[in-house]
Amino acid sequence: MNADLLSNWLEWLPDLGRGLQTSVLLAAVSLAIGIPIGLLLAVLVSSRRAAIRMPSIVLVEIGRGTPALVVLQLVYFGLPNAGLTLGPFTAASAALALTTAAYTSEIIRGGLEAVPKGEVEASQALGMSYRDTMRFVLIPQGMRIAIPALVGFGILMFQATSLAFTISLQELLSRAYSIGSSTFLYFQVLLLAGVLYLAITLPSGWLTGRLERRLSRHL
């Protein structure tokens, strides 16, 4: 049995490995697009002008309130009705980037607000503009504070890439599922998929701890 399991795993590994690549790529693209938008939203939500602040808050709340799976289905199956058809990878990237933007904007806003008030006052006292204060003082410090939470969110987002299974993207879970349906060895293949997810998430969590210590060195 154990030898069987091992030989099965070895047989499936190349296929699932490609699926894992797609999952990692999807997570990376979603985060790379979503986090900068999240930063932008965080800055807009902190704006003193209500005309900028209010629409941003509405956008963030809608983004956070809607399940990622619904956004995903909406983009892949819904948008074609509006004349926009996207491939599964593009659709999944767009949907997860939107969710990422909404969630990380709140994480980053928390980081910005945690920067001591004296930092802003010192910049103002030097005659620096609001923009420069944001760019050179608040954002660098706020992002550092936000990084542990952002990495935590990134790990969740990597797991959420398995939702793309529902739009037939050939990521890790969907490849495992199709092997399962042709071999009926669901347990074994899904177990391997789980191990492969862990192979990414566990070291990421461990790296976060190190990163956190490194970044807080000067603070």
Binding site: P116, G118, E119, E121, A122, S123, Q124, A125, L126, G127, M128, S129, Y130, D132, F136, V137, P140, Q141, R144, R217, H218, L219
Partner: protein, 282 residues
């Protein structure tokens, strides 16, 4: 030398229209030094019901060092913060150099920024930028606000760091420095904007007495170099030996001011007697 003990009774209607550089008032002749760099007229500020500054008048001449003392809650910090518009006053005018701001009118962000860089500020808690090296701390605003090149700014920063005896810290991060060193870096950072006046808000209150001395030594050198300074402090020896004038604030107003030895050794106002006894006899 005539000392004005209570300018509020002296400056009647003529206080309203006096704009900085122009005509010297009788009060300015009191000082041994130049024309006013900071001029506050009828400065008022309240938070809700709490009147924090009540029609304060204050002129500080070029090169003059004013020590400001008074009990906690007197409004000293608020006064300093109104001078560089970290707080917006409700009424009165603030003039720094040739920048004049009228509390009644809307102050544009641009005017506020211009006024702020004429006044350097040193905070009780230093407020250095922890994510930047000491050199970048001092250079950043020179580049962004004064438009200096990186090389120009860094050269000027090194000069100033040498002046506060911390050139060797240039490439380290602020957290690697002691509190006293951090405060001296903060002084260098403020000086880098070539301000016309330096505002100090209890610069040594967060420091051990011994470490405070190195900061006071730098401030003394600065005073001797002719810098105009307003120093909120509880350091009575510094007020007595370095300042040209001691101003006592209580309950949102200036209750007494004059030549340092006279005010410290022989305060006239009952409230200043009480306060000065408390700080000198500790």
């Amino acid at each position: 030398m005539e000392i004005v003990r209570d300018p509020q009774t002296r400056t009647g209607s003529d206080a309203v229209d006096v704009r900085a550089s122009a005509q010297p008032t009788d009060r300015l002749e009191v000082s041994r030094k130049g024309p006013p760099v900071v001029s506050l007229k009828g400065l008022s500020k309240h938070y809700g019901e709490n009147v924090v500054l009540d029609k304060v008048d204050l002129d500080v001449s070029a090169g003059e060092v004013v020590a400001m003392v008074g009990p906690s809650g007197a409004g000293k910090s608020t006064l300093l913060r109104c001078i560089n518009l970290l707080e917006v006053p409700d009424a009165g005018t603030v003039t720094v150099g040739d920048q004049c701001v009228d509390a009644g009118k809307e102050v544009s962000a641009k005017d506020a920024m211009r006024l702020r860089r004429t006044a350097g500020m040193v905070f009780q808690s230093f407020n250095l930028f922890p994510h930047l090296t000491v050199l970048r701390n001092v250079s950043l605003a020179q580049e962004r606000v004064l438009g200096r090149s990186r090389a120009e700014a860094d050269a000027r920063s090194m000069e100033l760091l040498e002046r506060v005896h911390l050139a060797h810290k240039a490439d380290t991060y602020p957290a690697r420095s002691s509190g006293g060193q951090q405060q001296r870096i903060a002084i260098a950072r403020a000086l880098a904007m070539d301000p016309q006046v330096m505002l100090f808000d209890e610069p040594t209150s967060a420091l051990d007495p011994e470490v405070g001395l190195e900061v006071l030594a730098v401030m003394r050198e600065l005073a001797e170099s002719g810098m105009t300074m307003i120093v909120v402090t509880h350091e009575i020896p510094f007020a007595r030996d370095v300042s040209d004038r001691v101003v006592v604030m209580a309950d949102g107003g200036i209750i007494e001011q004059g030549e340092p030895h006279q005010v410290i050794n022989n305060p006239q106002h009952e409230r200043s007697q009480r306060f000065l006894r408390a700080v000198t006899e500790r």
